[in-house]
């Protein structure tokens, strides 16, 4: 077998660097040898290594060197600069080889800093920085209704039609809702999809790769049902059958004709899991198309030349007219227009703000530490610089040389950093909260490599320039006479101390961030969600029955069958699952507290549940009674309400016996028969939500999609096979999906914070190491510079404690300065974290205290070793050396 071809990037680099007269032959030789080595050693990797080594050497080869017996042809100015640059880089490489320990330290510092920021960048890039992958994405916008309190809400079908018809700003618009069809077959499967108006794909600017888009005629109640598949679904379930067009697929017993397949690169950002699309098929008279039926999302494409401000102005005018015509259907006029990019990124924005801050701090710290190391090095090399200066090296060339050395180390560090990034990206992608958009696009690509290269250059340049300028400022002529050291130290050591203190400050800021996040997460996980998530198995069922009676019969059977499974202590059904993103909120009209406009009624999460729900979930009944089997369809309609909602709306009134109405004015009155404890539904940090529980037997229609909740006497996860086995025979066509342990779902709600915490923790550890290393470097250098002084003190009988104190005092002074500045910086910056925190103030004194103490501990450790060495200084030796 022919081994893989030579590395493309290397070939490119060579092509760029080789002079034209050698190019063809050199590349030919390289390729010939590459295959030879691969077949001789039987290892294509050895050949690749060889190829890369030769490439790097060729990049550093001085191709333009002419033999000295020929006149040198005149060269271009730019060419000369480039040559000087390469020659500086070569000199830099030689220096690096001469001081491997120092170089290793610097490279490691840079690799950690550059690598982790590259990893973060590769996560941020597709999500935050790249525009959505549709043509002219800047013109796509989401359209929401604005409620009285300024909150945005989805819109009703009639409102959508009005906006789409009246607006001159849109070239097209579409509305969409969720669709969860069951794909019939031997293994029925619940698919995620969207129901959309016919202009959906043309608004996005996407055309099916196979077949055609929806036509306007297909978007009507009477029209034949059609479906468009994603490329992935077409491949997975239909074997990429090219004859799929025109075939009829059965979803829940209804046939849909396939009319199109989307291109493989299509990303469904508005509904990330969606794999198939079908027309919405609403008619204006449908009860679910009403103005208050706010369950559709609207997307629009702005006409070219129309700014979002113009579009916004026009929409407010149209909205005012609509509301004037239908005052009972809206709480207030107003439309919210959000660009697609903002809409997709806003949820992750606080996270990214925090993480980007952490990256910036770490990079700054890497620069500081690098500069510090170089400065220390420059002091040691003062003699060399003095000689170079004496031989005619100008200040500029010294600065250039030092900067080039730093650049070399930064580039090598950046190269290693790419490895760090590769590992980091994998880790980050695994840790990242699942609701981050475009997570699949996160990888180390050209843009990331470009970023790495750019910051490597920046870091190297910064870290090299600071010490280079210090050397440049030094009085070089005086250097030789004075033996070098003093002159640079005069300018350098103040700077060095400043850099070390700065490093400590940056580390403190990162540590504070990590500490605050850690305490928030602790607090959050300690929150009582209002129910008992332990040993609770959950899954979603979707009944196939055609009428409400059949669906209710089926679910009654499920409760009986699952309840009989050994190890199951309680079982219940609900139309939505706590803490998992389900969102079914209805307006609640209290008879005792009527709002003048029905649109102003408070809204509450409405749970349709079976009688065992409270005991299965472990939600306490505070007063009144639980729902029972007697609350049948024909019995008086009843409801449970949670405590804080009742208190908020009814104040001192006893909720028991109060009547409420959920939904519009024609909905039936139901009587509150019990008050239950609050649960947290939208997130562990969601306090004081409103919840209403109705018996599922009394809802206006039967929910075909229900969540099964199974509490086990022991570990509920082990019950899964038996529970499945009990459900399956009742109706093999019912798919089971979203199987999860409630405890895992609770944990998943903290994913975003957990992610930020991991990043901060990692960065904080790196920062601690870097700050410690910086301190150690400065103190060690100072001890070695003061060997003679310490020797004399020893000789004069200074106590060990005295010497120790002398050295430690210096380190502690530096640390305290750093901690002081760091506290100030942290106070200013932790405010950026506020939205990620829970139960902890951004200026939490305990965190600040602990972090300060930790840093002091590390600082002591870093000073201890050089201090011990100072103790061992032999007075005689020290004096002789001096």
């Amino acid at each position: 077998m022919r081994p893989s071809a030579p590395p493309r990037l290397a070939v490119r680099l060579l092509h760029w660097r080789l002079p034209p007269e050698h190019r063809e032959f050199f590349l030919g030789d390289m390729e010939e040898r590459f295959y030879q080595i691969a077949s001789e050693q039987g290892d294509p990797r050895a050949a690749r290594r060889w190829y890369w080594r030769q490439t790097l050497l060729a990049l550093l080869t001085r191709w333009d060197r002419r033999s000295d017996w020929r006149p040198v042809p005149p060269r271009q100015e730019g060419d000369e600069l480039l040559t000087a640059f390469f020659s500086d880089l070569r000199a830099g490489l030689r220096q690096v080889r001469r001081m491997p320990l120092f170089a290793g330290l610097v490279i490691l510092t840079f690799a950690l800093g550059i690598g982790s920021s590259s990893a973060i960048f590769s996560v941020l890039h597709p999500i935050l920085l790249q525009q959505p992958p549709y043509p002219e994405p800047g013109r796509l916008a989401l359209v929401f209704e604005r409620e009285k309190d300024g909150a945005e809400s989805y819109i009703g079908y009639l409102t959508f039609l009005d906006l789409a018809r009246e607006s001159r700003s849109f070239s097209s618009a579409a509305a969409m809702s969720l669709w969860q069809p069951i794909l019939d077959g031997d293994e029925p499967e619940v698919l995620a999809g969207q129901r959309v108006t016919s202009g959906f794909f043309s608004t996005l600017g996407v055309r099916p790769a196979l077949g055609r888009d929806f036509s306007a005629l297909e978007d009507h109640a009477g029209a034949a049902r059609v479906v468009i598949l994603s490329h992935g679904l077409w491949q997975r379930r239909f074997g990429a059958d090219p004859g799929i067009l025109g075939r009829t697929i059965s979803f829940g017993g209804t046939g849909y004709q396939v009319i199109g397949v989307l291109p493989p690169g299509f990303e469904s950002l508005l509904s990330p899991a969606a794999q198939l699309w079908s027309p919405l098929r609403y008619e204006t008279g449908d009860s679910w198309a009403c103005r208050t039926c706010r369950h559709l999302r609207m997307i629009a494409r702005l006409r070219p030349g129309v700014s979002s401000v113009q579009a916004n102005d026009e929409l407010q005018r149209i909205s005012a007219a609509i509301v004037a015509e239908h005052p009972a259907d809206y709480s207030a006029p107003g439309i919210i227009l959000t660009s697609l990019h903002d809409y997709l990124t806003r949820k992750s924005r606080p996270l990214f703000l925090a993480v980007t801050g952490a990256v910036a701090l770490l990079l700054l710290l890497a620069c500081t530490n690098g500069a510090n190391l170089f400065l220390g090095r420059a002091v040691d090399r003062a003699q060399e610089f003095a000689i170079r200066a004496a031989l005619g090296a100008g200040r500029g060339s010294l600065i250039r040389q030092l900067t080039a050395e730093a650049l070399v180390l930064a580039l090598v560090g950046g190269g290693l950093g790419v490895l760090v990034a590769l590992g980091g990206v994998e880790l980050l992608a695994r840790l990242a909260p699942a609701n981050l958009p475009r997570l699949g696009q996160v990888r180390v690509n050209g843009a990331v490599l470009g970023f790495t290269l750019a910051i490597s250059g920046l870091v190297g340049f910064t870290a090299g320039l600071v010490p280079a300028l210090a050397v440049g400022r030094a009085n070089l002529a005086g250097l030789i006479r004075q033996g070098g050291r003093q002159v640079i130290r005069g300018g350098g050591s103040g700077l060095r101390r400043g850099l070390v203190a700065g490093g400590v400050a940056l580390a403190l800021m990162l540590l504070t961030g990590a500490g605050l996040l850690m305490r928030s997460l602790d607090r959050l996980l300690a929150v009582d969600p209002g129910f008992d998530p332990r040993n609770l198995l959950t899954m979603e069922l979707q009944a196939t029955g055609n009428d409400d009676a059949a669906v209710r019969r089926y679910y009654a059977g499920v409760l009986d069958a699952v309840g009989a499974v050994p190890g199951v202590s309680r079982v219940a059904l609900a139309n939505q699952l706590l803490l998992s993103g389900d969102f079914d909120a209805w307006g609640v009209h209290f008879e005792a507290r009527p709002a003048p406009n029905p649109a102003d009624d408070p809204s509450a999460f409405r749970f349709a549940v079976t009688p065992g729900f409270l005991s299965t979930m472990g939600i306490p009944l505070l007063s009144g009674r639980d729902l029972t089997e007697q609350d049948r369809e024909a019995a008086p309609h009843v409801a449970l309400i949670n405590q804080s909602f009742a208190r908020r709306v009814l104040g001192g009134l006893d909720p028991l016996g109060q009547r409420v109405r959920l939904g519009g004015p024609d909905a039936p009155w139901v009587t509150i028969v019990g008050v239950v404890g609050d649960v947290r539904h939208q997130g562990l940090d969601a306090e004081g939500e409103a919840q209403v529980y109705l018996p599922s037997s009394q809802t206006p229609w039967a929910y075909s999609r229900m969540i099964l909740l199974v509490r086990g006497t022991g570990r509920a996860a082990t019950l899964l096979p038996a529970v499945r086995g009990a459900i399956h025979p009742l109706d093999p066509g019912v798919p089971i999906s979203r199987v999860a342990m409630m405890a895992d779902l609770v944990k998943a709600t903290t994913a975003q914070r957990r992610f930020a915490l991991v990043v901060f923790e990692f960065f904080a550890v790196v920062a601690l190491l870097l700050a410690g290393a910086g301190l150690y470097g400065v103190i060690a250098a100072s001890v070695s510079e003061r060997t003679r002084e310490i020797g004399i003190r020893n000789a004069l009988g200074a106590s060990a404690g005295g010497i120790l104190a002398l050295v430690l005092r210096q380190g502690i002074g530096l640390t305290l300065t750093g901690v002081g500045f760091g506290l100030g910086g942290a106070l200013a910056l932790t405010r950026l974290l506020t939205s990620m925190l829970y139960g902890v103030s951004p200026t939490d004194p305990i965190t600040f205290l602990l972090v300060g103490a930790l840093l002091m501990g590390i600082a002591l450790l870093a000073c201890w070793l050089p201090a011990l060495r100072a103790l061992r200084v032999d007075p005689l030796e020290a004096l002789r050396e001096g």
Partner: protein, 105 residues
């Protein structure tokens, strides 16, 4: 007098016979000379030797294993051979009578 690396390259061309070209020369030096050299260094040296008129070169046909690229072949000219002999003879004379480890036979 030739530089040390120039000597190595000329010797490698001789050892390679008529089939001497960049990569083959590099391989000769690494296999027989026991010294790692970069292809880039071989190329710049060959160019210098050609400028000095010590080697002559011609271009072969493109081949598949070279990705359709041509090969540049090298051969010593008479002057190259003379320079090489001269250099080695100088070396030999200079080392004669020195401790065994330094003598060039």
């Amino acid at each position: 007098m030739l530089g040390e690396f120039e000597q190595l390259v000329l010797l490698a061309i001789l050892r390679g016979g008529t089939d001497a070209f960049g990569a083959a020369i590099q391989r000769e030096i690494e296999d027989h000379g026991g010294r790692k050299v970069s292809l880039g260094a071989v190329y710049t040296t060959l160019a210098r030797l050609e400028q000095k008129g010590l080697v002559e070169t011609w271009v072969g046909e493109p081949t598949a294993e070279r990705g359709g690229r041509r090969r540049r072949h090298y051969r010593l000219r008479a002057s190259g051979r003379r320079e090489l002999e001269h250099s080695l003879a100088t070396l030999r004379r200079m080392t004669r009578g020195l401790t065994p480890g330094l003598e060039v036979p």
